[in-house]
Symmetry: C2
Subunit: 209 residues, 2 copies
DNA sequence: TAATTATTGAGAATGATTTAACAAAACAGC
DNA sequence: GCTGTTTTGTTAAATCATTCTCAATAATTA
């Protein structure tokens, strides 16, 4: 039974399903039951069926799920076939690392441009992505539809930069700075990656295992 | 009333409290009530008090919490004053970026060494951290107490490398590869950072806002 | 010093998520 | 085609997390 409001907990599990199904596909597995998928992923079969049932009926009784089909369905739900456009702001070490190694296209994203203040990187091309000066940003956004901005800039300028971009109509942010970005506007989406938070939870678990 | 088993949800909020309190400290704020802290963080005062009460009584009725004191308490719970030792395996773009920009010491970690297969980085020193050849890893681990290994290596060698390290007694992993590392051993802790998962949840929310 | 206000920590109530149970449907072997 | 087995999607139960409420207590003010 399709649901109206999907909880965040479910949404955050979808990419993991997608990852596991991609792996199964590559291993040539054709069908899988919720039970075996659960064993591989270390979650209950019940939860898997409950999660999928939020979006439709993808399995067949007595058979299970067709791996390739299910992967396509979840990919579709996640929007990997949507051709999103993305730009990066800040081409330091981390920005460079992402441009060179992160498989944006596998998630349905095209990286159209990068921007930086430093004259040593402006004018270069990193893995087919041209790096422009910050002064060209406003004009670029007027000319191009941009779905997501990756923020790999220093913390000090993060909220100001975000505010500026929101005013220019940007609706999605992938934020790597160590502050909690937010906006009053309800249709602006932030996804924050806090390296330090992650390391601190590990620190806690090591101290309290 | 101190609790025995702290839920994961609570633990994952602790670093955010710590971050916010650090910010308040820097702004010179001396005391704060659960109510105002909640307003700043966009969570209920109730949840804050409930969370803190898992670990003890840090506030005072009619007054609130002393910011500096509370920060120290939460830092202590997270183990930032524990002097953890850490090594990195894989000094590509991402490894480089972390070594140069990530403030390990702020989370209580000292980076003792890095390891890589590439002869172009072996022998170099990145931000005071010496890079050794992989062949020296086993010997290094025999000589040094290492709490956490950062894995910034290609996916293809991730699980094998992790297994090898587990056999050598490593109990903590900060994993940046795109696979879900795991171990049968219950006292081995993994903290996985999946960039792709994060971007895909953003993709979902953009498509379904 | 007494009255008023602010605020915590704890327990109860509510809400959300996860797990269990099961009828219905499809498959597999004979 | 019949019989037993597998496995789904859904409903119900159990568990877990969050929010509400309030007595207790400290600070502040008059």
């Amino acid at each position: 039974m399709k649901k109206e409001n999907i909880s965040d907990a479910v949404i955050r599990r979808l990419p993991r399903y997608y990852r596991q199904l991609t792996d199964l596909c590559n291993r040539g597995v054709v069908r899988i039951s919720s039970h075996s998928l659960g064993q591989e992923m270390n979650i209950t079969a019940s939860q898997i069926r409950q999660d999928f049932s939020c979006f439709g009926e993808f399995g067949q009784q007595g058979y299970g799920y067709n791996v390739e089909e299910l992967k396509a369905e979840i990919g579709h739900i996640l929007g990997v076939d949507n051709d999103h456009h993305l730009i990066m702001i800040g081409v330091g070490n981390l920005g460079h690392a992402l441009l060179q190694n992160f498989p944006f296209s596998q998630s349905g994203f095209t990286v159209d441009a990068a921007f930086d203040v430093s004259l040593t990187v402006v004018g270069t091309v990193v893995n087919h992505v041209p790096v422009y000066a910050m002064s060209e940003l406003d004009h670029f956004l007027q000319e191009h539809a941009v779905d997501v901005v990756v923020l790999t800039i220093p913390q000090s300028v993060a909220q100001d930069t975000a505010n500026h971009l929101i005013n220019l109509g940007v609706k999605g942010f992938w934020n790597f700075t160590n502050i909690e970005l937010s906006s009053q506007l309800p249709d602006v989406q932030f996804e924050n990656i806090h390296f330090a938070d992650s390391l601190l939870t590990l620190s806690y678990r090591i101290a309290n295992r």
